[in-house]
Symmetry: C2
Subunit: 337 residues, 2 copies
């Protein structure tokens, strides 16, 4: 049996709240002693930490979870294995997931955990079959795509965006991506089958967008908010739908900017529907989504795109880089012990 | 038989596009000669002109209709009676409605007209049974009200707002209004049965709102946009619905301001649905709405609120005043000939 008393935990703390852009100096890595678990708790060895733009938003204030403050272990969704248990629900060897934080080991009450059923590999469980893949799935479910519609996706090379684009193609839509480099644009078109991609860092973003979809946009899957959201509002078709999934353009700064012009005026005149959602609200449909996504992967209709960083110590940089748009596909940190 | 050749028309033209606030000098009244009607056309004597905030928005640019430009007869929804006809669809004496403009007589092709069935009186046909009453009806239909929910309505003393509030009461909701004077606030509470009303011109708008609905807002029926929209976003409950009906705060100025902060960030974290609509999209459900509204009026569950201005020459001031919030209930101009 494992002598958990002999284990040393490594934890990454938020040392200071970022003033504007998130920096490495906002974090601090410390070795700490694990405390013994009590009734209903389990000790978890973390395998993968999910890196998500939302991690940065959690530092700005209370969202759907409490704010992360200096002195807190940095929060983060993660996959791990139970290595010690005083819970009747989970036994040693079980895969579990939840907000396990940026650390090698986590102690959690059984109520804070979800059992993870690994349908394929651990990394696929974190990418297409994980939170971000399911976010793409349920977001497009809300959009009620019709064959032949034009679907625009921002942060298209990101973990959610790339899957959303591939799903929209399966539904027979014309799929346009928005991304921040020509390299990612080419990858999305050549590797993942997007019909076209616009690089918003080019000066002609609005013109380029108009050229790529002269028929205008029926569904906009928005991951970024900000000025791109505003530009797209003007490019929407009557009765268009905007799926509000995230606002990454607003996370890595002091405070959100003023909002997009045209709200709510254009929402009225174009009869738009805007729909905000969070994947956790769809917990009861999780299996349906995983089954469908797995099926699409097996039929090679979805190509998983993973961006794996090795080592807990690299987690801060993994997030900082993600906020700068460095990743292609789902970024996660593999804990090597 | 009427000698229509002897009739002189009086028309109000847009003389110049308003630079900021709409002024009387932006209009010009002229007497003109009626031209003979041709095949499929009818000559209409106008009875009531509807005064709507949207009239001002039409001067800003193309919306769901073409922009009104200097030299155009001012547009406006109106009710009239056919007094000469070369149409097989409409005969002399028929009530018709449509965008008949600010004038005593209108010549229109039959395709531009809708037959008006007057269920009760002409003025009721313009108010609760008219476009604005039906706008309230269909807007709340989209909101899928549940008994006991808190419904907040801006421009609550306006033509749409006052009916929306009365309907939400029928559905068993707690109804809070937003208006621009204590006098209108008292009227909404004492005459129309609103539970509470906040005067946004008081300095403590956000505080007052929080005090009146500590349980937060489930449904916001927005007629105004702008800073009020922004404040309400922060007061919404998770899974709340915002019905985007108009943006009157943005109409009477040069160009729309920057948009509300929190879009789309709060839409995501609060999982809001925003839904824009225009009553004309519900043409096929018109009879259902009129029947239901008439029934509520007969049962005294809706009290019609009408604000009738007499005389075509007073139409510009009627609109200018409406944009300043002078009206209580549905404002319309009765043409006296």
């Amino acid at each position: 049996m494992l002598d958990t008393n002999a284990l040393v935990n490594t934890q990454i703390f938020l040392k200071s709240s970022p003033k504007e852009k998130l920096l490495q100096e906002n974090f601090e890595l410390k070795e700490t002693k694990l405390t013994p678990i009590i009734d209903n708790q389990v000790l978890i060895e973390i395998i993968y930490i999910s890196i998500d733009a939302a991690n940065r938003a959690w530092m700005q204030g209370r969202t759907y979870r409490s704010q992360i403050l200096p002195g807190d272990v940095m929060g983060g969704y993660a996959l791990g294995k139970v290595i010690e248990s005083r819970s009747e629900k989970f036994k040693i060897g079980d895969y579990v997931e939840g907000d396990l934080g940026w650390q090698n080991y986590a102690i959690r009450d059984e109520k804070e955990l979800i059992r993870a059923s690994i349908r394929s590999s651990e990394n696929l469980h974190m990418s297409v079959l994980g939170i971000t893949g399911k976010t793409a799935y349920f977001g497009l479910d809300l959009a009620k795509l019709k064959k032949g519609e034009t679907v625009l996706i921002s942060a298209a090379a990101g973990a959610v965006g790339n899957v959303a684009g591939q799903i929209a193609k399966i539904y027979g839509c014309k799929v346009i991506g928005i991304t921040s480099s020509d390299e990612k644009a080419n990858w999305l078109i050549n590797e993942l089958g997007f019909d076209a991609v616009v690089n918003y860092k080019n000066n002609n973003f609005v013109k380029d967008l108009r050229k790529l979809c002269p028929e205008k946009v029926d569904v906009y899957f928005d991951n970024v908010g900000g000025p791109i959201f505003e530009s797209v509002l003007f490019a929407m078709n009557n009765f268009g739908r905007i799926i509000c999934c995230g606002a990454v353009s607003q996370y890595d700064q002091a405070a959100p900017e003023s909002g997009p012009r045209g709200v709510p005026g254009l929402i009225v005149t174009k009869r738009l529907t805007l729909r905000g959602f969070i994947v956790m609200d769809f917990e009861d449909r999780k299996k349906e989504a995983e089954k469908q996504l797995m099926d699409w992967i097996e039929k090679k209709q979805i190509k998983p795109a993973e961006d794996i960083v090795i080592g807990l110590q690299n987690t801060p940089n993994a997030l900082i880089g993600l906020l700068n748009g460095d990743n292609k596909g789902k970024r996660m940190v593999r804990i090597n012990k």
